[in-house]
C-alpha cells in the first residue's frame, strides 16, 4: 500500500491515460459535486425558512379580537369586539390545564427616556409566563414576577436595543438594573434586560406588568390578547382545544359562529406543524435527489470501470506473462480506481463547497441563508461511490486475469 514504486506505477498509469482517467474522474467528481450542491441548497432553504418563521415559541395559541362582520343576536354588523377582564377570567376557568398563560396589552411607538436620551419603542404589558412563551433570554436581572403584577409595580425589563440606544456607550446590561426610566412620562424601575439574538423587533421592546400597563396606559379592563402555552400537548389535542375555545369565545362575546373576524384563536402549533412538514419535505426531496444523483454516478462509475478493465485485458495478459501474480494485477487495478476516485471525489467536494460559499453572499434572501455542506453525508456518498467503483472493477478484473494470456495476447 505504501510502496513508493507501486505508487509511481499507479501515477504513471493514471496520468498516461488521460481519456480513461478523465471519464472516471468526471463521473465521480460530478456526482459528488451535484450531491454537495443539492444538500447545501436544501440546508440553506431550511435555515432560511427557520430564521424567518422559527423565532417564537411554536407551542402556543393566541386569542385575539377584532371587528365582527355579521349581525348576531340583535347586534349590529361591523362592531368592535373586546375581551374584558371577566371574559378572560372565565376563559381561564373553563380550560382544564394551562401550562402557561400571558395576557398582553401593547403600546407601540411609546416614548422611553433615560436622562437626556429618548426614543420610540414598543411597550408590552404581560404576565410572568411571557418569559416562557416568548422564550425571553435574559442578559441581566430578572423577569416580571407574580408580585409585580399583584402590586401593579412600575418595573420594566428592557430589550437590548434600548440599553444600547439610551444608556452611555459601554454600559453593561447588569449596570442598567436598578436604574429608572421614563415610560410614557411615568417612572419605572429597570429590573432586568434581555436580548433575542437576531430579532430587532423583539429587542426594541419593553416588558412591564400587565396589570400596571392596563391601569396606566389604558385605564379600562380590556385585554388585548391572550397567549396560552400548550406545553408538550400533541398537535391533535391543541387543535381540539383551539376549536373548543373559539366556539366558547364566540358564544361568550356574542359573535356569529360563521364570523371569521370577530374573535379568533390562532394555533401556532398548526403553523409549526406545517413548517415541520415543509422541512421534512425539503429534506426528503434533497435526499431523494441526492440518492438519484448517487445512483446515476454509481452506474456511470460501474460502466466506466468495466470498460476500462476490458480495454486493459491485453495489458493484464502482458503483465501476467511478465511475472505478475493475478493478485498483484487485481490489486493494482483496484488501487488505481480507489486513488482516482478519491482524488476526483475530493475535487467534486471542493468544487461544490466553493460554489456554495461563492453564491452564499449573493443570494441572501428571507427564505435562504447560509447554505452549508453536510460534510458527513458528502463523505458517506464518496465512500459509497468508491465502494461501487471497486465492486464494479473487481468482476471484470478477476475475469481478465483468469483469461489465459496466450489467448488474450493472440491476434486470432
Amino acid at each position: 500500500m505504501f510502496d513508493r514504486d507501486a505508487w509511481l506505477e499507479i501515477f504513471h498509469t493514471v496520468l498516461s491515460n488521460p481519456l480513461r482517467t478523465g471519464l472516471t474522474g468526471l463521473s465521480i467528481a460530478l456526482g459528488i459535486f451535484i450531491l454537495v450542491v443539492m444538500q447545501g441548497l436544501g440546508a440553506g432553504l431550511e435555515a432560511g425558512v427557520a430564521n424567518t418563521f422559527g423565532d417564537k415559541a411554536s407551542n402556543v395559541m393566541e386569542v385575539r379580537t377584532g371587528n365582527a362582520q355579521l349581525a348576531f343576536r340583535g347586534r349590529k354588523p361591523n362592531r368592535r369586539v373586546a375581551l374584558h377582564n371577566p371574559d378572560e377570567q372565565a376563559m381561564k376557568e373553563q380550560l382544564d390545564t394551562i401550562p402557561a398563560w400571558s395576557r398582553l396589552v401593547f403600546r407601540w411607538g411609546s416614548t422611553v427616556r433615560y436622562g437626556n436620551q429618548q426614543g420610540s419603542y414598543n411597550v408590552r404589558g404581560v404576565d410572568p409566563d411571557q418569559r416562557e412563551i416568548g422564550q425571553v433570554s435574559l442578559t441581566s436581572g430578572r423577569f416580571l414576577s407574580p408580585r409585580d403584577l399583584a402590586q401593579n409595580r412600575k418595573v420594566a425589563v428592557l430589550g437590548a436595543q434600548l440599553v444600547q440606544d439610551l444608556f452611555p456607550k459601554g454600559t453593561k446590561p447588569s449596570d442598567v438594573v436598578g436604574e429608572f426610566i421614563q415610560l410614557r412620562g411615568i417612572q419605572f424601575a429597570v429590573v432586568g434586560t434581555f436580548n433575542q439574538a437576531g430579532s430587532r423587533w423583539e429587542n426594541r421592546s419593553v416588558y412591564v406588568p400587565f396589570s400596571t400597563a392596563q391601569k396606566l396606559f389604558q385605564n379600562d379592563d380590556v385585554v388585548g390578547r391572550v397567549t396560552i402555552g400548550t406545553g408538550d400537548a400533541a398537535i391533535e389535542d391543541t387543535r381540539e382545544a383551539s376549536t373548543g375555545l373559539l366556539f366558547w369565545l364566540k358564544d361568550r362575546l356574542v359573535v356569529h359562529p360563521d364570523d371569521a373576524e370577530g374573535v379568533w384563536v390562532n394555533n401556532e402549533n398548526e403553523e409549526a406543524e406545517m413548517f415541520r412538514q415543509i422541512f421534512s419535505g425539503i429534506r426528503l426531496f434533497v435526499w431523494f435527489v441526492g440518492l438519484m444523483t448517487l445512483l446515476a454516478g454509481a452506474m456511470g462509475v460501474a460502466n466506466i470501470m468495466a470498460i476500462v478493465v476490458r480495454e486493459r485485458t491485453k495489458e493484464i495478459g502482458v503483465r501476467k506473462a511478465l511475472g505478475a501474480t493475478s493478485h498483484a494485477i487485481v490489486g493494482q487495478i483496484i488501487q488505481e480506481a480507489v486513488f482516482l476516485m478519491l482524488v476526483s471525489g475530493c475535487v467534486g467536494l471542493l468544487a461544490g463547497t466553493w460554489l456554495l460559499h461563492g453564491i452564499a453572499p449573493l443570494v441572501e434572501h428571507d427564505f435562504f441563508s447560509n447554505p452549508r455542506v453536510d460534510f458527513y453525508s458528502a463523505l458517506l456518498a464518496l465512500g459509497i461511490l468508491i465502494l461501487v467503483g471497486v465492486a464494479s472493477a473487481i468482476g471484470p478484473a478477476v475475469r481478465a486475469v483468469t483469461i489465459r494470456p496466450v489467448e488474450a495476447l493472440r491476434d486470432e
Partner: protein, 227 residues
C-alpha cells in the same frame, strides 16, 4: 531444460470435454532453438500456455530446469515465469502508454528490483537489441521490427533460461522477419533455450529442430532424438 511426459490437457466446453493435448512427450535440451509447428487447433497454443506456466495441465509431468512444474500455486507459477521464462508475442504486446525503456523494464518491477536498476538494465538490453536510440519513444512511434526488438529486450531482461516466442515474425515483413530471427539466433548462441511457435516453414527451417503437432499429439516423435 524442458521435459514433458504424457502431458494432457482438456477444456470443458459446455457439456462437452474437449481434449486438446493427448499425451505430449518431449524433451528440449539446454541451448536448443526449437520450432513448434502445427495447424490451428493442433494444440500448439495450449502447449505454449502449459510451457509458459500460464495454464495448468491435467495429467503427465513437466520439469523445467529440473524443477517439477506440477500443481504449482498461482504465486509460484508467477515466480517461475518471472525468473525462468521470457515471452515474445506475435503482436508485440507492448504497453501502449509506456516508453520502450519502461516496457523493457517491466518484468524487473515484478521482481522487486529498484527503479534505478531497472532502467539501467533496460537500457543495457535495448542497446543489445540495437534500439537504444528509441528508448524514450512510445510503441506507436515505432515500426513493427523495432517493437519486436523492444519485446525481445523485455523478454531478456529477467535473464531467463527459456524464451517462448509465439509467432514472433507473424506480423512482420520478410526482411524484418529475418532480422528478428537473426537476433533470436544470436541470443540462442549465448546459451538461452528458445522455443518458437510458428506456422511458417522458412522460420522453422532456421531452428535446430521442428516439433510438429497434430490433433494434440506430436506427429514426428523421431524429432525427439534429433541433434
Amino acid at each position: 531444460m524442458i521435459e514433458l511426459h504424457g502431458i494432457r490437457k482438456s477444456y470443458q466446453s459446455g457439456a462437452q470435454t474437449l481434449e486438446v493435448l493427448k499425451g505430449i512427450d518431449c524433451t528440449i535440451n539446454k541451448g536448443e532453438l526449437v520450432a513448434i509447428m502445427g495447424s490451428s487447433g493442433s494444440g500448439k497454443s495450449t502447449l505454449l500456455n502449459v510451457l509458459g506456466l500460464l495454464d495448468d495441465f491435467d495429467g503427465g509431468s513437466y520439469h523445467l530446469d529440473g524443477n517439477d512444474m506440477g500443481g504449482l500455486g498461482e504465486k509460484q507459477a508467477a515466480r517461475y515465469r518471472s525468473e525462468f521464462l521470457g515471452f515474445v508475442f506475435q503482436s508485440f504486446n507492448l504497453i501502449g502508454y509506456k516508453t520502450a525503456l519502461e516496457n523493457a523494464a517491466l518484468p524487473l518491477y515484478y521482481q522487486g528490483v529498484s527503479r534505478k536498476e531497472r532502467q539501467k538494465q533496460a537500457l543495457h538490453y535495448l542497446t543489445k537489441v540495437g534500439i537504444a536510440d528509441w528508448a524514450e519513444h512510445l510503441p506507436n512511434q515505432m515500426s513493427g521490427g523495432q517493437k519486436q526488438r523492444v519485446a525481445i529486450a523485455r523478454a531478456l531482461i529477467a535473464n531467463p533460461r527459456v524464451i517462448l516466442a509465439d509467432e514472433p515474425t507473424g506480423a512482420l515483413d520478410s526482411v524484418t522477419s529475418d532480422e528478428v530471427m537473426g537476433l533470436l539466433k544470436e541470443i540462442n548462441r549465448e546459451g538461452i533455450t528458445i522455443v518458437v511457435v510458428t506456422h511458417e516453414n522458412e522460420i522453422a527451417a532456421q531452428c535446430d529442430r521442428i516439433i510438429r503437432l497434430k490433433d494434440g499429439r506430436i506427429e514426428n516423435p523421431q524429432a525427439q532424438h534429433h541433434v
